[in-house]
C-alpha cells in the first residue's frame, strides 16, 4: 500500500465535508429548537404531570451519551425495520440531543423573566397564552440568545460523533484522509483548525450578544 501525502485535494475534501457538518448542525438546531421550545413550555406548565414528564425527558437526554442516542436511532431503528440513511439517523439523534439541552436552558430563561411581569400582564386581563406570546417569550428570547449561541458551538463540535455511523462530515473526512496518508498531525490539526474557524466566531458572537443585550440589567 502506497501512502500519499496530505495535499490540496485533501484540504478541498475537508472543506466540502465541512458543509455536511454545518448542514447537520443546522438541522439539529432547527428541529432541536422546535422540540426544545415545547419541552421548555412543558417545564413551566401549570400542570404538574407535564412538568414531571418533561423534566424526566431532560434528565434522560442529559444523562445519556449522545453516542447512545445515535446508536439507538441508527442500529435500533434499523432492527425495527426502519433502514435510515446515516444523515437521517444523525439528524434525529442530534435533534433529540439539542432539544434536551435547549429545553432546560430555555426553561431557565423563561423563569428568569421577572415575576411582576406576569402579574402586570395578568392584571390587564391577558390569557396565559397571550402572556407568553407578548410579554414573557420576547423577554426570555433576549435572555436566551447568548447561551443558545454558546450551545450552538457545542453542537458544531458534537456533530463529529456521527462519524461513527459512517456519516461523512468533517471528522469522518479527516479519518478517511488519515487512512490513506497516515499523517495524523497534519490531518487532524487541519480538521481542528477548521472547527475552530467555525466555533470561534460563534463564541465571540455569544459574548458580544451578552454585552449588547446587557443581560442581567435590572428593568
Amino acid at each position: 500500500m502506497i501512502l500519499r501525502s496530505f495535499g490540496l485535494n485533501d484540504l478541498i475534501f475537508l472543506l466540502e465535508s465541512l458543509r455536511w457538518t454545518l448542514v447537520l448542525t443546522a438541522i439539529a438546531l432547527t428541529f432541536g429548537s422546535i422540540a426544545g421550545l415545547v419541552i421548555a413550555l412543558l417545564r413551566v406548565s401549570q400542570l404538574r404531570v407535564l412538568r414531571i414528564l418533561s423534566g424526566l425527558y431532560i434528565q434522560i437526554i442529559q444523562g445519556s451519551p449522545v453516542l447512545m442516542i445515535l446508536f439507538l436511532s441508527y442500529y435500533g431503528l434499523s432492527l425495527m425495520g426502519f433502514q435510515l440513511p446515516a444523515l437521517v439517523a444523525a439528524s434525529i439523534s442530534m435533534s433529540v440531543y439539542v432539544s434536551g439541552y435547549l429545553g432546560e436552558i430555555w426553561r431557565g430563561c423563561i423563569q428568569s423573566v421577572a415575576k411582576p411581569q406576569w402579574e402586570a400582564s395578568e392584571s390587564l386581563g391577558m390569557t396565559r397564552y397571550q402572556q407568553f406570546r407578548h410579554i414573557i417569550l420576547p423577554q426570555a428570547m433576549r435572555i436566551a440568545l447568548p447561551p443558545t449561541t454558546g450551545f450552538a458551538v457545542q453542537v458544531v463540535k458534537n456533530t463529529s460523533i456521527t462519524s461513527i455511523i459512517g456519516f461523512v462530515e468533517l471528522s469522518r473526512a479527516g479519518q478517511l484522509i488519515n487512512n490513506s496518508t497516515f499523517q495524523p498531525f497534519r490531518v487532524f490539526l487541519t480538521v481542528a483548525l477548521i472547527y475552530f474557524a467555525v466555533c470561534y466566531p460563534l463564541s465571540r458572537l455569544s459574548g458580544w450578544l451578552e454585552r449588547k443585550l446587557h443581560v442581567g440589567s435590572a428593568h
Binding site: A114, P116, Q117, E119, A120, S121, E122, S123, L124, G125, M126, T127, Q130, H134, I135, P138, Q139, R142, H219
Partner: protein, 243 residues
C-alpha cells in the same frame, strides 16, 4: 350601589393569617386610602381585590364582578379594574405606546387606530404625550409610573387600585405621580390606594382606612380621621409620621 364590596375576608399565607375578617364598602367615585404599618395587611387586601391573591373565606365584589378562581371571570373583572404597582412593571421590550396599546388591542380587540387614539389620550392625561416612542429604560421612575397609570387607564377601568405607587420614588418624582392621581380623583375615578403619603391621603382621599394587625382598626372621612384619631394605635401611627 357600592362599586366595591368586601365582606368578612380572611387570608392566610401558610400559618400566618394576614387578613382577619375585613369588610369594606367603596362607593362609585370615592377615593379610599389604606394606611397602616408594614405587615398590617393593606397591600394584601388590595391584591385580593383584583384576584392576584386568593382569599380563604369571605366575599369580594368589584365593578359588578365577583372575585372568583374562575379564570375567564377573573379576566372579565380585570378589564374593568386597573392596578398600578410600586415597581411600575412596564414591559421593557415594548415602547411606551406599545405598552399602553397592547392590552386594549389583544384583550378588548380594539382596532389599531382606536388603540392609538386612546394611548395618545391617556399619555396626554399623565403629561407624557411626547414619550410615545420611548422605551421604559429611557424614562425616570416618575415617568415610568405615570406610563403605568396610563396603561391601566387605557382599558377604561371602573376602579383603579394603587399599591404604594410612590414608595420607590424621590419626593420630586412622587409629586408628579400624585398630581396625576389627584387629577383622576377629581375626574370622579373610583380609587383605592395603599399609601405612605399621609398628606396626600388627607387631602385627596374621601375616606381613610387604618389597618392594624390584619383588621380595619379605624376608618372615617380623611380630615376627621387624621385630626381626631380614636384609637391609641392610629394616634401613634399619625404622630410617628410627622417627622
Amino acid at each position: 350601589m357600592s362599586e366595591v364590596r368586601i365582606e368578612e375576608v380572611h387570608k392566610s399565607f401558610g400559618a400566618v393569617e394576614v387578613l382577619k375578617g375585613v369588610s369594606l364598602n367603596v362607593e362609585a367615585g370615592q377615593v379610599v386610602a389604606l394606611i397602616g404599618r408594614s405587615g398590617s395587611g393593606k397591600s394584601t387586601l388590595l391584591r385580593c381585590i383584583n384576584g392576584l391573591e386568593t382569599i380563604q373565606s369571605g366575599r369580594i365584589e368589584i365593578a359588578g364582578h365577583e372575585v372568583t378562581q374562575d379564570k375567564a371571570k377573573l379576566r372579565a373583572l380585570r378589564t374593568e379594574v386597573g392596578i398600578v404597582f410600586q415597581s411600575y412593571n412596564l414591559f421593557p421590550h415594548l415602547s411606551v405606546g406599545e405598552n399602553i396599546m397592547l392590552a386594549p388591542r389583544i384583550v378588548k380587540n380594539v382596532s389599531a387606530a382606536q388603540a392609538r387614539t386612546v394611548a395618545q389620550d391617556v399619555l396626554n392625561l399623565v403629561g407624557l404625550s411626547e414619550k410615545f416612542g420611548a422605551y421604559p429604560d429611557q424614562l425616570s421612575g416618575g415617568q415610568q409610573q405615570r406610563v403605568a397609570i396610563a396603561r391601566s387607564l387605557a382599558m377604561h377601568p371602573k376602579v383603579m387600585l394603587f399599591d404604594e405607587v410612590t414608595s420607590a420614588l424621590d419626593p420630586e418624582l412622587t409629586e408628579e405621580v400624585l398630581n396625576v392621581m389627584e387629577k383622576l380623583a377629581r375626574d370622579g375615578m373610583t380609587m383605592i390606594l395603599v399609601t405612605h403619603e399621609m398628606g396626600f391621603a388627607r387631602r385627596v382621599a374621601s375616606t381613610t382606612v387604618f389597618m392594624h394587625q390584619g383588621k380595619i382598626w379605624e376608618q372615617g372621612p380623611s380630615p376627621t380621621l387624621f385630626a381626631d384619631p380614636q384609637t391609641p394605635e392610629l394616634r401613634q401611627f399619625v404622630k410617628s409620621d410627622v417627622k
